[in-house]
Symmetry: C2
């Protein structure tokens, strides 16, 4: 039996693309190599300008152009749907351009942040107050905040100082940050991410979105019952939209 | 600057393809997303018949046909070289067919096993007696043994009983084997792989090839100074053949 191809737009950063593909495999009902779904990953980070840099006006070239080109290459490969393994790429100024460039094409790009909020409503219907941790650019632009609020939930944000000095540093610090060292992460980075989770919990969050592809590397969601991993949400959505019969039940095998 | 695309033929199994891509990233000189090399991964395991099964005559369909088709798709994407993340696919009866189907095409498929032996000569020029651990099919067909001997080195094989009852079981046992549980591996599987390494060392091996994509998951080569990881050897070869200036020095950053 042939299944539709799932496309992954990677390279933003490279390991985040791999992590999304890995989650697709994890969430697929498959007892052998041949039962897995076909996945095409294009990790072409060299072509794509910095997402945060563009959102903050440090570069003029909208990365959405290159992202749309990648999507078209995936379409030519036969991919029916695609996912972008990067939170910042879902800022409207980038993602709307991608959608505009793909108008009339057959490939559909699912929305990482929208799928994360949908995933929360499916897996944590009891949760009303949702903590949103992310890079400083995603935080400043309220990407998760707006999506959570649009779903009728309350967004619990970290204080600006925590977003910048705790979460952002855990990700970007050149000495101990997760982007610099992630296999395994440093004690310092893990401790900062845990501190940020506790901070939004103390502000009332009953679920916490780890809204940067680096954060789950420091605190694996399997070890944190309140944590929500957007990559897992997107992986499940990519399966659901192509081969729903292959999607593992939630919480099961 | 544009770099040639590296193709990865994955899906055999799916996580082995990811592991090879991950090693390519690990071995690349890059300080940012944009400095990484372009990699295209096609994880189309559903199309490819079982490699061991074919070698042992349990199926008539040579997986080399499907593997060559994947290589041609990678060529159409622009890939200059490709690597197959599967040891058994390098059995001559499969790999020779792939090469025959690709005659006259521009994409070159590097040879996992040949590159591993080359890697040993570069990184362990002192090592003369090379332990060869693998699945039972690769063991039975002497894939690593022949390549090691062709390089003028001595191949140290496990006893047949160890190849079958220790190594093969560590990989395939449905309860504790690495294919069943790998994140993390079970204590039992780790203990069996370590036992096999010690066994070939006791037979005189001064380096040990972990010649199955599952084995390094149980005993990461970083934790085993005598161990050789073929995926790392192939990853380095793929970089060397496309963008040698981007290859990290051995043992360094």
């Amino acid at each position: 039996m042939d299944f539709p191809i799932i496309g992954v737009l990677g390279g933003m950063g490279p390991y985040a693309g791999l992590d999304l593909v890995s989650r697709i495999f994890d969430e697929t009902r498959a007892a052998s190599d041949r039962e897995h779904l076909p996945v095409a990953l294009l990790s072409y980070g060299h072509r794509i300008t910095d997402r945060s840099g563009f959102v903050f006006g440090q570069t003029d070239i909208n990365p959405g152009y290159a992202i749309a080109e990648l999507a078209l290459e995936l379409e030519r490969l036969g991919a029916a749907v695609g996912g972008i393994a990067c939170n910042s790429a879902h800022a409207p100024v980038i993602f709307d351009l991608v959608q505009q460039k793909l108008r009339g094409r057959s490939i559909r790009i699912l929305h990482l942040i929208g799928e994360t909020v949908r995933f929360i409503s499916e897996t944590r219907p009891d949760a009303c107050r949702i903590g949103c941790l992310s890079t400083y650019s995603v935080h400043q632009h309220g990407l998760y905040q707006h999506a959570v609020e649009a779903a009728g939930l309350e967004a619990i944000l970290p204080a600006d100082s925590v977003a910048e000095e705790v979460v952002h540093r855990a990700i970007y610090d050149p000495i101990f940050g997760i982007k610099a060292i992630s296999n395994p992460c440093t004690e310092k980075a893990i401790s900062l991410v845990r501190q940020a989770i506790t901070h939004v919990q103390n502000r009332g969050a009953d679920a916490v979105i780890l809204g940067c592809t680096e954060l789950p590397l420091a605190v694996p969601p399997a070890t944190c019952t309140v944590c929500i991993d957007p990559a897992r949400a997107l992986a499940r959505a990519l399966i659901r939209e192509t081969s729903p019969q292959k999607l593992k039940p939630l919480g099961g095998m």
